[in-house]
């Protein structure tokens, strides 16, 4: 659970939440409690909403993953066999221009979700620049765009407001843009930085290379076998098949990445709002206790005054 240690310490030492004032009025304490309660209601509601959305987006990503991974498997298999120059999207260029696609969310209040992405991307970009590469950004999500725009980083392309109604159309749009620009030579390599959905409460920041396609080794035995057994049959012919398959691959990968990020975002928001609700609960408890103590003190003081006054009259 997330607890602000320092603040809690301060709390104990000082006389209460309003250490600057000597003695807070009871009314101001009541107001404070009411305010905390309102905040807690909001965070609780946001948590519920995030949980509901998480469920849906989780189902989507989990069912989309096998297809995307198979696709990647087939393509990396293929890229080892065919002549790379036979399709513009498979080319490997010795190039200095790198593009980083940063996938953030449109909305905030989701804990470290965007912060992690932004930090990782900046780190990655700096690394590339120190190797003398020229880096451009393209950005998905309002939060990332705002961040990088404020720091006036070079942004080539941006997509915002797509997470509310995520569909394959967006993936086609993004995939299309990326493939076009790769073919045009806007960049020679493309990396994607995004949050992978690990579980409802865990996200992992991933830096993934999308262009050019790499032959992967991770597919193990079946593929090793494949490499030795020579030729491959294509139907229809190789060129036509690549034309159908390769652009599709990038759309599917873009779709998968969008879904990963969406699910991760809802997970992160749910966890963050859960923490916030609990923190608010603690604050309420503390201030309520302090409020009651203060009230008691005031009553006692008044009583003593009365008793003292009565004594004096005797």
């Amino acid at each position: 659970m997330y607890v602000r240690r320092k603040e809690e310490g301060d709390w104990e030492q000082s006389r209460g939440p309003f250490s600057s004032e000597r003695m807070p009025s009871l009314q101001s304490l009541r107001r404070k409690i009411a305010a905390f309660k309102n905040t807690q209601k909001i965070t609780k509601a946001m948590k519920m909403v995030a949980a509901a959305k998480l469920k849906r987006s989780q189902d989507r990503i989990l069912s989309a993953r096998p297809y995307a991974h198979k696709m990647r498997g087939v393509l990396s298999n293929l890229s080892r066999r065919v002549n790379r120059s036979s399709h513009p999207l498979l080319q490997k260029r010795e190039g200095k221009r790198i593009e980083v696609l940063v996938v953030t969310s449109d909305r905030g209040l989701c804990g470290g979700f965007n912060g992690n992405i932004v930090r990782k991307s900046s780190e990655f970009v700096r690394q590339c620049e120190s190797r003398g590469l020229q880096v451009n950004l393209s950005i998905i999500g309002r939060k990332g765009r705002d961040y990088f725009r404020r720091r006036s980083w070079p942004i080539r392309q941006e997509w915002t407001g797509i997470f509310d109604k995520l569909s394959f159309e967006h993936a086609i749009d993004i995939g299309g843009d990326l493939t076009d620009n790769f073919v045009k030579g806007t960049f020679d390599e493309l990396y994607v930085v995004y949050n992978e959905f690990k579980s409802a409460i865990q996200q992992r920041v991933i830096v993934e290379k999308l262009f050019p396609v790499d032959a992967q080794v991770e597919f193990g035995a079946a593929q090793m076998e494949g490499t030795t057994s020579g030729s491959y049959l294509y139907e229809p012919d190789e060129a036509e098949l690549l034309n159908a398959l390769v652009p599709k691959h990038f759309q599917v990968q873009a779709y998968r990445i969008l879904l990963e990020s969406a699910a991760a975002e809802h997970g992160a928001r749910m966890a963050a709002m859960d923490g916030a609700t609990r923190n608010a609960g603690q604050l309420i408890k503390k201030v309520t206790l302090y409020y009651n103590k203060t009230r008691q003190a005031a009553i006692t003081k008044e009583l003593m005054d009365i008793v003292g006054g009565a004594e004096a009259l005797k």
Binding site: Y67, G73, Y234
Partner: protein, 140 residues
């Protein structure tokens, strides 16, 4: 029999099937092709058609609408835009769709509309055919 071959069918929506089978017959864009264990490496696009696979003498079938198939000696991976198992197809709905598509085709219109109608007719007919056969025999 040289053992079995792993058949995996995935669509963007979900993984539909992952099973050891004896034989696969798939609707390649250049014609149907059969795959037995130990098939050579092969990559093909698929058209709208019926995918059949045999497990222990039982033939099952499903409708696949476009996609790709990758064949290795031990594995067949079918990546289809849409795939439906025969037993999951709703016959009534397919029948309605056939009628609808036929009507649209009759009505004519722009070339693109006609083409679309043709495709949806083909899809619907396929679904209906597979589903009805499954109904009748209990299995495909």
């Amino acid at each position: 029999m040289a053992g079995k071959i792993l058949l995996e069918v995935v669509t963007p929506e979900r993984q539909l099937l992952s099973q050891q089978v004896d034989e696969v017959i798939a609707p390649g864009s250049e014609g149907e092709f059969g795959v037995l264990p130990g098939h050579c490496h092969f990559l093909s696009t698929l058209r709208i058609g019926e995918l059949r696979y045999r497990i222990d003498g039982q033939t099952h079938s499903m409708a696949v609408l476009w996609g790709f198939a990758e064949v290795t000696p031990t594995k067949v991976t079918v990546m289809a835009e849409i795939a439906e198992k025969a037993e999951d197809i709703d016959v009534e709905r397919a029948t309605v769709k056939v009628a609808e598509a036929e009507r649209r085709l009759q009505a004519g219109g722009l070339p693109s509309e006609v083409k679309e109608a043709q495709i949806s007719l083909e899809k619907a007919r396929l679904r209906k055919k597979i589903a009805e056969r499954t109904r009748k025999t209990g299995h495909a």
